[in-house]
């Protein structure tokens, strides 16, 4: 009958097991697969990530120099980051916040005047 008594008394005097969430947020752990991020400037638009993606969430357009991800299709498996030859796709530790509408994020590579300067120099 009194088997729980020890635990009950211990819980009465110990700190709560949960965090006071909106006020106290936990830092994401190292290597957590939170969401997919890209450093678009390094991307060579090889489309390997798009072909390997199990949920067809990534769209790469070489002509437009654009890289598009549908975060709502993404299953956060991290394969894209694994296969990227330039390692410009990576898993960001911070979780994606909820959104009001389903949309995809498109990244377009801007022409690089700085790199051309480097080439001439």
């Amino acid at each position: 009958m009194f088997d729980m008594l020890g635990s009950v008394l211990k819980n009465l005097v110990s700190r709560p097991a949960t965090r006071k969430y909106p006020f106290e947020k936990r830092e994401p752990l190292k290597d957590t697969r939170g969401q997919v991020g890209i450093n678009i400037d390094d991307c060579i638009f090889c489309s390997i990530c798009s072909r390997k993606c199990p949920s067809d969430a990534i769209n790469v357009n070489k002509a437009e120099k654009s890289w598009e991800i549908n975060h709502f299709k993404c299953v956060m498996c991290g394969v894209c980051a694994e296969v990227c030859p330039k390692k410009c796709v990576d898993m960001v530790e911070q979780y994606k916040t909820p959104a009001y509408s389903k949309s995809s994020a498109k990244y377009v590579q801007q022409p690089k005047p700085a790199s051309q300067d480097n080439k001439t120099a």
Partner: protein
């Protein structure tokens, strides 16, 4: 006496997943139970035919949230035996560690849900607080809490560092200690025993003829545990299947609680014996031929039938999940029992409907 039909589920406070039962009642007593499943069918088996066989690892992981690692493990072991891939020793041990962590969190989840089913809220909270420690290990080692996606054909995708292995050993010990404190409540508490002892007795003969698997079979005295076949690194670890004789809900609770301790012991043995080295081998070619792969999940034996045709797509993938095998035993147990015992009886088979319907 006139009969009435009471629909139970698919929406019911005790059910985490949509199982529908038509209960034919005589007064408070059940005379017949007619199951209806099909509420969460997602067509995953068909999906595996259009995805590449390497991508299917992520598809089969999503068959079930609780035993996702074991689904991927069964699939990978099947493809590996089909393509005759020898995975590195370290990967075999890593698979055991993650699989047993999954078993612990599945059984703790179940013990909590059982406490919730007979209205013991504080016990439910205590058990789930323990479970949270396992979830934190998952996130720290694999990067995700539930669907950990660490399996790949040819090994594992992530390694566990030495420090982390030592940390896991300390944490699983803590879990064992905490569960030892809660153990008397499950085993000796008057109210808990009142709801479990003698409820839903499944004899050894019935369990055998109905094809019960996992803790259901082991609680009825059938010593059947696929881990004894020695897949992954289980052949090199020392353990005995947990078997109880009585076959009632109390015996099933005992089996699952003792399996938590067994998993703790297996994890500690695996950590002590894990060799250094590579975690995966490169995979070339496509699977050709057919194979059956079996793995012991927290709920029992899962069976994968894989058929490849030499292309990167599989021709057929078929899964027989443990809950599917255990539903007949539920239908055997329900007639003759009281309506108030139905939630506990349904829970004791540890139903995973999303597994069953895929």
């Amino acid at each position: 006496m006139s009969r009435s039909v009471i629909p139970f589920g698919p929406q019911h406070p005790v059910l985490p997943e949509p199982l529908h039962l038509k209960l034919v009642m005589e007064d408070e007593k059940i005379v017949e139970a007619i199951p209806a499943i099909g509420y969460v069918h997602r067509g995953l088996e068909k999906l595996t035919e259009v995805k590449e066989y390497t991508q299917n690892v992520f598809v089969v992981e999503r068959i079930c949230g609780i035993c996702s690692f074991m689904h991927a493990m069964a699939y990978c072991q099947g493809i590996e035996s089909l393509m005759e891939i020898q995975i590195p020793d370290r990967a075999r041990y890593l698979r055991v560690i993650w699989a047993e962590l999954h078993r612990i969190h599945s059984h703790l989840l179940w013990l909590g849900l059982l406490a919730d089913a007979f209205g013991f809220e504080s016990l439910f909270m205590q058990v789930w607080r323990n479970r949270e420690k396992v979830m934190d290990i998952m996130e720290e080692t694999a990067g995700s809490r539930v669907i950990i996606s660490t399996n790949a054909i040819g090994g594992t995708r992530r390694d566990i560092s030495k420090d982390m292995l030592l940390k896991i050993r300390v944490i699983v010990d803590e879990i064992k200690e905490d569960m030892k404190q809660l153990e008397p409540v499950f085993f000796n508490d008057y109210t808990v025993k009142h709801r479990l002892v003698g409820v839903g007795v499944l004899t050894s003969e019935d369990a055998y003829s109905l094809g019960a698997v996992g803790p259901m079979a082991r609680a009825s005295g059938i010593s059947q545990d696929l881990r004894t076949t020695g897949y992954a690194a289980y052949g090199e670890l020392d353990f005995e299947p947990v078997v109880e004789k009585d076959g009632d809900s109390y015996a099933r609770t005992m089996v699952r609680l003792k399996e938590v301790y067994q998993s703790v012991s297996l994890i500690k043995q695996a950590i002590a014996n894990i060799p250094e080295g590579e975690i995966s081998v490169p995979v070339k070619g496509n699977p050709n031929g057919e194979v059956i792969a079996r793995v012991e999940q927290p709920r029992g034996e899962v069976l994968y039938y894989l058929k490849g045709n030499g292309t990167k797509n599989l021709e057929r993938l078929r899964v027989r999940t443990p809950t599917f095998a255990n539903i007949p035993t539920l239908l055997k147990m329900l007639p003759g029992s009281q309506l108030a015992d139905v939630p506990v009886l349904i829970l004791t088979i540890d139903p995973c409907i999303s597994c069953t319907e895929r």
